[in-house]
């Protein structure tokens, strides 16, 4: 929806627009509709929260759009809330588009009221009107707009309906300056007025709307109270007000203010929406009951995960083979001309760069893309929260709650997004435990090793057994960490989105975005890794490294000395380890130099022993160098210990 700026219009200053709203209301869909492919995704400075930014040109105006994190409130319980609050207060946004889910108007307006308390210049994008009318809810956008005192635009984010009208309102709103808050009940308003009075006579003048500061002080907000640490008189006076308010209501002050907002949003939502007929929910309810049934629910979960993994292995395997073949042909084709040009360059370029790109695509496209496709289906239908709901009690055994299942599932695709996905946990402790666990889950690259070694030469049951063993180890380590880090575990509080059919187009788009992220992140590292390997091969330093590792490989694990190469290069790229191994021994038939028992031990060690370099980089970013190192050391120790035990057990079993 961008058009070229007419001449002479570019001089006008660009507009900054922020998107704010609850989670799962279609904020990202609107962001994608508006910015298309013009977006950059990074982190908020110093925070582990994603920041997405994009640009569009509308009627000759450059409009910068910032997608704020999805939140329910503007208190300071989570990093996401702090970021949104600070951003709105900074006044950087000329307009704040508040995306509101029409099917849950009352809950969504709770955040709207808080945005208005900060005098944010709000324009409401009323999304999911189609779903609301399917539920028998009729909303009057004009009435809603009058009651809230802000423009309201009906949109359907998925299809892009209403985007032009939305941008019209944004342009109009951007010229008008700050917004105004709505008034609450008389009694609470008198407390707010008293507090504002005290604030006006205070020496300290924070650059925020005075009523907002007053409300936050009455809410006993720690961050705002800190601003007035130097004004003890003010804090004492406010505290007295707060105490009298609490005595009057018999509730803690934050609860009084929250109730006040909810009673206003209830009134506004009630006056602006009407329930035409009782919604027909029986089919959805029945499906939902089935999905969380004590037997059927788990059965469905197992079947869905079974289908997921089978599809990945089956299609991934075929596609991976075809891509490998294609790149093999390409290398053969390039070999002669490049070698005759310059043998050293030819060797490094072919085995380093071309081979690396080939290996990256043969993993990325088949396994990762298939995984993300199926994951997006589970995500968009709303199944993932149902699975988290079913697995909550299991996750409590390892000190986590049901939501932890989602990053764990991600781990079977790639450890990098899985580590980032640990952000959905509420506390640092939970994130750390989960981070230490997800790196132990076999990602697609490790799947290649499991299938390629244990699966091919020992049997598919051996491969499955390794999966089960790995899961058992993950649960055991989780249990152990839970015991070692004794703190009150956090309970589950999670919104359950409605079940709905998925749209293939949206799924494909999501798959593309996620796969693209993987390729951008992994490709340079993979190519660099392949290049180092090719260089090491050329300089003949491999033997030195391999023999240096022999105390572990031969001494402890009883493996052939050459497997050391896999351990070293597995750090750079896990699936490259196999190719290196094949090159070292001069054959792709691993049965020629390893017994079945050795292959099992080798596979187990490769699966557990170290996160790849890309994962390590993300661990540092998410947890800091010290913790990333601790997790890595834990992995190495664990891999050697489990490998050693497996070797002893398999030898005793006479394999």
């Amino acid at each position: 929806m961008s058009d070229r700026p007419p001449a002479g219009e570019e001089q006008r200053h660009p507009i900054t627009v922020a998107l704010a709203g609850n989670p799962n209301v279609g904020k990202s869909s609107i962001f994608n509709q508006l910015t298309g492919l013009n977006q950059t995704v990074g982190n908020w400075p110093g925070k582990t929260v994603e920041r997405a930014e994009g640009v569009l040109v509308y009627k000759g105006r450059r409009i910068k759009i910032i997608d704020l994190p999805g939140i329910y409130s503007l208190s300071t319980f989570s990093e996401e809330e702090v970021i949104t609050r600070d951003y709105i207060l900074s006044g950087e946004a000329d307009v704040v588009i508040n995306v509101v889910d029409a099917t849950a108007l009352e809950r969504n307006l709770y955040l709207t009221l808080q945005l208005l308390e900060m005098n944010a210049p709000v324009v409401i994008a009323l999304n999911m009107m189609d779903e609301a009318s399917r539920k028998g809810i009729e909303i009057d956008p004009k009435g809603l707009s009058e009651r809230l005192g802000v423009p309201v635009v009906s949109v359907i984010a998925i299809s892009g309906l209403g985007m032009t009208e939305l941008m019209e309102q944004v342009l109009a709103r951007s010229a008008l300056g700050k917004g105004r808050r709505l008034l609450y009940g008389k009694e609470v308003e008198s407390y707010i007025a008293n507090t504002s009075g005290y604030l006006r006579s205070s020496e300290l003048k924070p650059p925020y709307p005075i009523d907002w500061v007053a409300i936050k002080l009455l809410e006993d907000d720690p961050a705002v109270k800190e601003i007035f640490l130097k004004d003890a008189t003010l804090l004492r006076k406010v505290d007295a007000l707060l105490k009298s308010m609490e005595a009057m209501h018999g509730e803690p002050a934050p609860v009084i203010i929250a109730s006040e907002r909810y009673s206003l949003s209830n009134r506004i939502a009630g006056a602006s929406a009407s329930q035409r007929v009782e919604p027909i929910r029986t089919v959805e309810e029945r499906v939902d009951n089935l999905l969380s049934h004590r037997f059927a629910g788990y059965l469905i979960l197992v079947v869905i995960l079974g289908i997921l993994f089978y599809t990945i292995f089956y299609f991934g395997g075929i596609a991976s083979f075809l891509i490998d073949e294609a790149f093999g042909q390409l290398i053969l084709l390039l070999r002669d001309p490049l070698y005759s040009f310059n043998p050293v360059f030819g060797e490094l370029f072919l085995n380093g760069v071309v081979f690396g790109i080939g290996a990256a695509t043969s993993i990325a496209l088949p396994y990762i893309a298939t995984f993300y496709f199926l994951l997006s289906v589970l995500e968009d239908t709303g199944y993932l929260p149902r699975a988290a709901f079913l697995l909550d009690s299991l996750m409590h055994k390892i000190g986590l709650h049901g939501k932890a299942f989602i990053p764990m599932l991600l781990g079977y695709g790639c450890s990098v997004p899985a580590c980032i996905g640990c952000r959905i946990m509420e506390t640092k402790r939970e994130r750390l435990i989960l981070g230490a666990l997800v790196v132990l889950i076999p990602c697609s690259a490790r799947t290649v090793i499991i299938l390629g070694v244990a699966g091919t030469y020992v049997g598919i049951w051996a491969a499955l057994a390794i999966y089960v063993l790995d899961l058992a180890i993950v649960l055991a380590i989780g249990r152990l960490l839970f015991k070692v880090l004794p703190e009150e575990p956090v309970g589950l509080i999670m919104e359950m989105p409605r079940l709905r059919p998925f749209k293939v187009k949206t799924i494909l788009k999501k798959t593309w975005f996620k796969t693209k992220d993987f390729v951008y992140m992994a490709l340079p590292l993979i190519v660099a890794g392949s290049f180092v390997v090719a260089l090491a091969g050329y300089l003949n330093v491999i033997n030195v490294v391999v023999s240096a590792l022999s105390p572990v490989t031969v001494g402890l694990l009883g493996l052939p000395v050459g497997t050391g190469i896999a351990l070293i290069f597995g750090l750079l790229r896990k699936e490259l380890a196999l190719i290196m191994l094949a090159t070292y021994f001069g054959t792709t038939n691993f049965a020629l130099f390893m017994t079945p028992a050795q292959m099992l031990v080798f596979t187990i060690v490769m699966v557990l022993y170290i996160p790849c370099i890309a994962t390590f980089a993300v661990l540092i970013r998410e947890y800091g160098a010290k913790r990333a190192l601790a997790i890595t050391l834990m992995n190495i120790t664990l891999a050697i210990a489990v490998g050693f035990v497996a070797m002893k057990v398999l030898t005793l079993a006479g394999l």
């Binding site: 329910y72 009352e106 709770y110 934050p254 609860v255 009951n289 709901f389 909550d392 506390t427 589950l492």
Partner: protein
């Protein structure tokens, strides 16, 4: 039970304002028990109007604490050592000391304590009204943000198997809440 009679008195006091001897008798408290209450200086009677004495208040509060304690404590998972207690959304069950923090709110609660049940115990399909959340600031705040403020109607939709979480309908949204948290939210079931 002396305490139940006191609870009845409290309920009448909030609904009527002034409680007389005959109101209590109508509400099913028998005359002997009433005399006993007055004799033991739990209630005092002047000009036919009954008032709670400070001793009576103490007995009542103790009863309420006792009740909450029995209903909320030692359920589900085993207690963990206090140590580095993080009330931030903790899902574990509370102890007596934590309950004391809710003293003031218990004092003016306008219901008979026996009317309340933990959200966890609400049967599927039934609706209740949120009365009290016994928990740390973080937990209470999070639940409020999602719409579970006092007085809000919540409907129990389903329970996860194997001691898992529960699913609720609140303000036309659906929310899953862990078992530990659900046992700390006290609701008054609606009669229907």
């Amino acid at each position: 039970m002396v305490e139940e009679a006191l609870e009845t008195f409290c309920r009448l006091k909030t609904s009527l304002g002034v409680v007389k001897r005959e109101n209590l008798l109508e509400a099913g408290v028998d005359a002997d028990k009433l005399d006993l209450l007055v004799k033991n200086k739990l209630l005092e009677e002047s000009k036919g109007v009954l008032e709670l004495t400070s001793k009576g208040e103490a007995v009542l509060l103790n009863h309420r604490e006792e009740f909450l304690h029995d209903h909320l404590l030692h359920r589900g998972e085993a207690k963990r050592p206090p140590g580095a207690m993080d009330h931030w959304m903790s899902c574990h069950h509370i102890d007596r000391a934590t309950l004391k923090e809710f003293y003031d709110r218990l004092k003016i609660m306008p219901y008979r304590i026996e009317e309340l049940v933990p959200l966890l115990d609400l049967s599927v399909g039934r609706t209740g009204e949120v009365v009290l959340v016994v928990g740390g600031r973080g937990l209470i705040g999070r639940l409020c943000d999602l719409g579970l403020t006092p007085g809000t109607a919540v409907k129990m939709l389903r329970r996860a198997p194997a001691g898992g979480p529960i699913e609720l309908e609140v303000r036309s949204t659906t929310i899953a809440v862990g078992r530990g948290i659900a046992s700390k939210v006290l609701v008054r079931p609606k009669i229907n």
